[in-house]
C-alpha cells in the first residue's frame, strides 16, 4: 500500500513538472472590454524653421555628365554650366601611311535637360591653355582652367536630348592635323607628350544664351573627338578612326563642370559664406534649392523639446517632415525631382553625416496621396533624427539640409514654402506614444 501511495505521489509531481500549457491563445476574444494602456497622439504644431544656405563649393570632378548651357532663372539669375575635359586616345599607334580625312567632336546626349530646349543654344569649343590638373586632384563647381579666348569652333544648335542620340560638331582640320601626325610619326607617344600639344577642351555656352542646360555623357563610348583617316591601298583605301575620349581615372579626374549663377538679388546675394543662413521669413517665406550652384534648404526644429511638456512618459513613434514646392515654381521645362536627399550639418553647415531610414539613406519622397490639384508635397521620414534631437542632453545647434539628388551634376531647382505660408507651411508631423500617464 505504501508503495502505491508513494508512486502515485511521485506520479503527480512528475505530471506537475511536465504539463505546462502556457501557449498564448490567438483568437480575438475579449478585446472589446479593455482599453489600450498607451495613448497615441498626432502632433503637428512644432515650429519648422526653414532657411536657405549655400555651399561654398561642390565637388563636380569625376562626373559622368558633361553639363553645358545657360538659362536665366527667375530666382537664381544667370545660371551657367560649362565643362572642362581632357581627352586622349587609349593607344598612341597609327599606321605610318595613314592620312587624316577629317576630325569632329561627338557628344552623346544623356537625356538630362533643364529649361527651354526650343531655343537655340551656342556651344563654344575652346582649347585649354593649361593642364587639367589641380593640387588635390579634386575640382569644384567653382574651379576654372585657363583657355584660349577665341573658340576653336562655335556650334549653334537646337538641343534634342530626348529624341537624338548624339550631337556631332565638326572640328577644324588644322586642329586635328598636328595631333594626328604627331601620333602617326611617333612624336606623341603618351599623355605627357600629348599635353605639350593638346591639353584638353572646354565647352562653354554662348554668353547671351537664355535657353537650356544640357547633359552629355562623359562615357568614352558616347562622347569623344574622332579622327577619320584613310590608309591608301592599291585599289580601295581602308578607312578607319582614332578616338580621343575622357579616360576614367579615379585619382586624377579628367573632367569637371563649372556651374555658376550671377545674381543681382539683394536677399540671396547675402549668402556669400557657407555659414550664413537666410531664414525663409526674410525671403518671402521661401527657401531656395539649386543643384550645381550649391543652394540648399536648412531645417531645424527649435521648439521640439516642448514635447516634454506633455504630461506622462512617452516616446515618438514617427516623425514626418512635410515640405511643399509652390506649384508656380515648376513646370515641364523646369521639372521637379520626386525625391530629395537629406544630410546632417553642424552649426557651421559642415556636413557631418547622412540620415538613415531602416538601413537606407533617408529620402524625401513626393506623397502621391497628398497630391491635390497636382500640388506636390514632399514627405521626409526623420524619426531617428528627431528622436536623437529629443534625447540629446546638451544643446547642439545642428540641422539637416535638403537638396535634390545629382547635386554636383545638374541645375535642378526646388523652391519650398517656409514656415509661415498662407495655405501651406512646412510642418513636422509627430506620432507620440504615452505609455505612462502618471509620471
Amino acid at each position: 500500500m505504501r508503495r502505491f501511495i508513494f508512486s502515485s505521489g511521485l506520479f503527480v509531481l512528475i505530471l506537475a513538472c511536465s504539463i505546462d500549457t502556457s501557449e498564448i491563445p490567438t483568437l480575438e476574444v475579449g478585446q472589446d472590454f479593455a482599453d489600450s494602456n498607451v495613448r497615441v497622439i498626432l502632433l503637428d504644431t512644432f515650429t519648422v524653421a526653414v532657411s536657405t544656405m549655400r555651399f561654398d563649393s561642390i565637388i563636380t570632378s569625376g562626373t559622368n555628365r558633361i553639363l553645358v548651357g545657360q538659362y536665366k532663372d527667375s530666382f537664381f539669375g544667370n545660371v551657367k554650366a560649362s565643362s572642362f575635359l581632357e581627352l586622349s586616345p587609349p593607344l598612341y599607334d597609327l599606321p605610318s601611311d595613314a592620312e587624316l580625312d577629317s576630325v569632329g567632336l561627338v557628344l552623346g546626349y544623356d537625356r538630362y535637360f533643364y529649361s527651354d530646349t526650343t531655343r537655340t543654344s551656342h556651344l563654344n569649343i575652346h582649347l585649354l591653355s593649361d593642364d587639367l590638373r589641380t593640387d588635390d586632384d579634386i575640382f569644384y563647381n567653382t574651379s576654372k582652367i585657363p583657355f584660349d579666348s577665341i573658340p576653336l569652333i562655335t556650334q549653334i544648335y537646337l538641343p534634342e536630348p530626348q529624341d537624338e542620340d548624339s550631337l556631332f560638331i565638326k572640328l577644324p582640320f588644322a586642329f586635328g592635323e598636328p595631333l594626328f601626325e604627331g601620333i602617326r610619326d611617333n612624336d606623341i607617344n603618351d599623355v605627357e607628350e600629348l599635353r605639350e600639344t593638346f591639353r584638353g577642351i572646354t565647352i562653354q555656352p554662348g554668353n547671351d544664351d537664355d535657353s537650356s542646360v544640357i547633359g552629355f555623357s562623359s562615357n568614352s563610348s558616347r562622347s569623344y573627338i574622332r579622327f577619320f583617316y584613310r590608309i591608301p591601298q592599291e585599289f580601295d583605301d581602308v578607312e578607319s578612326t582614332l578616338d580621343f575620349a575622357i579616360q576614367t581615372n579615379a585619382l586624377e579626374p579628367k573632367i569637371f563642370n563649372r556651374i555658376q549663377n550671377s545674381l543681382f538679388d539683394p536677399v540671396l546675394d547675402t549668402l556669400i559664406d557657407q555659414e550664413i543662413n537666410l531664414p525663409s521669413v526674410q525671403s518671402n517665406n521661401r527657401s531656395f534649392i539649386q543643384s550645381g550652384t550649391g543652394y540648399a534648404s536648412r531645417i531645424q526644429f527649435p521648439t521640439i523639446k516642448q514635447l516634454f511638456d506633455i504630461p506622462g512618459e512617452g516616446t515618438i513613434l514617427s516623425a514626418t517632415l512635410r515640405l511643399k514646392p509652390p506649384p508656380s515654381t515648376y513646370n515641364d521645362n523646369l521639372p521637379i525631382r520626386d525625391s530629395l536627399t537629406i544630410l546632417l550639418v553642424d552649426q557651421n553647415n559642415r556636413i557631418t553625416e547622412q540620415l538613415f531610414f531602416g538601413g537606407q539613406p533617408v529620402f524625401g519622397v513626393v506623397n502621391q496621396e497628398l497630391e491635390e490639384f497636382d500640388d506636390l508635397i514632399y514627405e521626409i521620414p526623420i524619426g531617428v533624427y528627431v528622436d536623437r534631437e529629443l534625447n540629446e542632453t546638451n544643446f547642439v545647434d545642428d540641422a539637416f539640409i535638403v537638396y535634390p539628388p545629382e547635386f554636383g551634376q545638374s541645375v535642378d531647382r526646388v523652391i519650398l514654402e517656409g514656415e509661415e505660408g498662407d495655405d501651406f507651411s512646412a510642418s513636422l508631423v509627430l506620432t507620440y506614444a504615452i505609455y505612462d500617464e502618471d509620471e
Binding site: 500500500m1 505504501r2 502505491f4 501511495i5 502515485s8 505521489g9 503527480v12 509531481l13 505530471l15 506537475a16 513538472c17 504539463i19 505546462d20 500549457t21 502556457s22 498564448i24 491563445p25 490567438t26 483568437l27 480575438e28 476574444v29 475579449g30 478585446q31 472589446d32 472590454f33 479593455a34 482599453d35 489600450s36 494602456n37 498607451v38 495613448r39 497615441v40 497622439i41 498626432l42 502632433l43 503637428d44 512618459e313 516616446t315 515618438i316 513613434l317 514617427s318 538613415f356 531610414f357 531602416g358 538601413g359 521620414p381 524619426g383 531617428v384 528622436d387 506620432t431 506614444a433 505609455y435 505612462d436
Partner: protein
C-alpha cells in the same frame, strides 16, 4: 516520536519551497477577466471543498485538510498528519456575441499538510495559487488623438499570486474550536502591450511584483449533534507592489530601446474584509449537507482597473456528501459521493454589469484502503462566468481537481519490526 516528526517536516518544508519557486511562473487560467486587478481568484482547492460547491466553512474532518476555516484544525485527534497534493486542469470556452474560442490551462495546483501539536491543536501549512492571470487581448483599436486614424494594440498577461498559508486551530472546549491563520501573498503579474501604429511599433513589457500579509480568524461550533456552524473572517490588507518596465520601439524600421526602469512603486492593491459563514448538517447517517455564504466588501476599497470596477461580492454555495458505510466491507460502500453548487455575484463590474459566475460540481472520494483514511479526491466542476451581453464575454469552464490526501502515513507502525 517527536524527533522523527521534525525530520519529516523538514522534508515537507523543502518540497513546499520547491513548489513555491515553481508555481510563480505557471499560468492556471485563460480568462480575459484576469486582466483586472491581480487576476481572477484561483479555483484550485485543497481537499474536497471543490466538489462541495467551493464552500465548507463548517467542515471539520481530522482526516482531511479544510483550508477554508482555520478553526477546523482544532478538531481533536492524536498523532494526526495529513498531506494533500492537488492538480487542476481547466478547459474553458470563451465566447462573445460573435466568436468562440477554447483555451486549456492545467497545472499542479496545491500542496498542503497538517500536523498535530497536541491532542487539541493542529497547525497546517499550505501553498496554493491565490489568483491567476492569463489573457491575450488582440486587435484593440484606439484612436490616434488628433487624427482620424487608429492604432492597434495587443495585450498579453500572465502570472499568478500565490498564497503561503500557515493555520493554527485549537479546541477551546468540547464543541467549540477557534483558529487563526496568516497568509503571505506574493507573486508576479506580467503584462506586455504591443502597439502598432503605421509602420512604427511600441512594446511595453511590465513585470509587477506584489506581496502582502493577510490575517484571518475562524470559529467552529457544534450547535447540536447534527448541526455545526463555521465562521471565518479575513482582515483587509494591502499588497504593495513594484514594477520593472522595459519599453522598446521600432522607429523608421529600426528597433531601439526607450527605457528600462526597475522598482517603480505601484499603487497598493487593497484586499477587502471577508466574512464567511457556513453550516454543516448531518440529517441522516452518512449524509452531510453544507450551506455557505461569503461576503467580500470590495466597495469600500474604491478600486478600479482599466474599465473594470470592484464591487461587493457575495458567494452562495451548498454541497452534499454521502457514502454508504464508512467501515463497509465493499469498496463501493466506502466511496464518498459529493455534489455542490454555487453562485458568485462577482467582484468586478464592467460598464455597470457584474461579472457573476455559477457552477455545479460532482466529486468522488476514493479511499486508499480499509482502515486507512487516505483519499484520492476527484472532482469535476462546470462553471459559467460573465455573459455575452454587449461587450462582455462568457466563459464556460470545465475544471477537474484531483487531490491526493494522505493521512498518517508517517505514523503507521509496522506490526513486526
Amino acid at each position: 516520536m517527536m524527533r522523527m516528526n521534525k525530520g519529516k517536516l523538514c522534508i515537507w518544508a523543502g518540497l513546499v519551497a520547491i513548489y513555491c519557486s515553481h508555481s510563480q511562473t505557471n499560468r492556471l487560467t485563460g480568462s480575459p477577466y484576469s486582466l483586472f486587478g491581480l487576476g481572477i481568484e484561483s479555483s484550485s482547492n485543497v481537499g474536497k471543498n471543490a466538489a462541495l460547491g467551493g464552500g465548507g466553512f463548517a467542515l471539520n474532518n481530522p482526516n482531511a485538510i479544510n483550508i477554508r476555516n482555520p478553526a477546523s484544525f482544532g478538531t481533536e485527534s492524536t498523532n494526526s498528519f495529513v498531506f494533500d497534493i492537488g492538480f487542476l486542469g481547466e478547459l474553458s470556452t470563451i465566447q462573445n456575441n460573435t466568436l468562440e474560442e477554447n483555451r486549456l490551462a492545467s497545472n499542479f495546483s496545491s500542496l498542503a499538510f497538517s500536523a498535530n501539536i497536541d491532542e487539541k491543536s493542529t497547525f497546517a501549512l499550505a501553498v496554493l495559487p491565490y489568483s491567476d492571470v492569463g489573457y491575450s487581448l488582440l486587435g484593440i483599436e484606439s484612436n490616434i488623438e488628433g487624427s482620424f486614424d487608429q492604432f492597434n494594440s495587443n495585450i498579453f498577461g500572465s502570472g499568478a499570486l500565490n498564497n503561503f498559508n500557515l493555520s493554527y486551530g485549537r479546541t477551546l472546549f468540547k464543541g467549540l474550536r477557534l483558529g487563526a491563520k496568516i497568509s503571505y501573498l506574493f507573486g508576479n503579474v506580467e503584462e506586455t502591450e504591443i502597439v502598432q501604429s503605421g509602420i512604427s511599433g511600441l512594446t511595453v513589457a511590465e513585470t509587477s511584483t506584489y506581496s502582502g500579509v493577510q490575517l484571518g480568524l475562524g470559529l467552529q461550533a457544534d450547535l447540536t449533534k447534527h448541526i455545526k456552524y463555521g465562521g471565518a473572517i479575513n482582515f483587509p490588507t494591502e499588497l504593495s507592489g513594484t514594477q520593472d518596465r522595459t519599453v522598446t520601439k521600432i522607429l523608421d524600421f529600426t528597433q531601439s530601446p526607450v527605457e528600462s526602469e526597475t522598482d517603480i512603486q505601484l499603487e497598493k492593491f487593497e484586499l477587502p474584509w471577508e466574512i464567511h459563514n457556513g453550516i454543516l448538517i448531518n440529517p441522516w447517517k452518512n449524509l452531510f449537507l453544507n450551506f455557505d455564504h461569503s461576503f467580500r466588501a470590495w466597495d469600500i476599497t474604491q478600486q478600479q482597473d482599466n474599465i473594470g470596477e470592484f464591487v461587493d461580492q457575495n458567494i452562495f454555495s451548498m454541497g452534499a456528501e454521502f457514502n454508504i458505510d464508512t467501515n463497509g466491507l465493499k469498496y463501493i460502500q466506502r466511496m464518498q459521493f459529493r455534489t455542490g453548487y454555487y453562485y458568485d455575484t462577482g467582484y468586478l463590474s464592467i460598464r455597470g454589469e457584474n461579472i457573476s459566475s455559477r457552477g455545479i460540481s460532482f466529486g468522488i472520494g476514493f479511499p486508499f484502503g480499509r482502515g486507512n483514511s487516505s483519499m484520492l479526491n476527484f472532482s469535476y466542476t462546470n462553471m459559467d462566468r460573465g455573459s455575452t451581453n454587449t461587450i462582455l464575454v462568457q466563459e464556460n469552464i470545465h475544471s477537474i481537481n484531483i487531490n491526493i490526501s494522505l493521512k498518517d502515513i508517517w505514523f503507521l507502525k509496522r506490526k513486526i519490526n
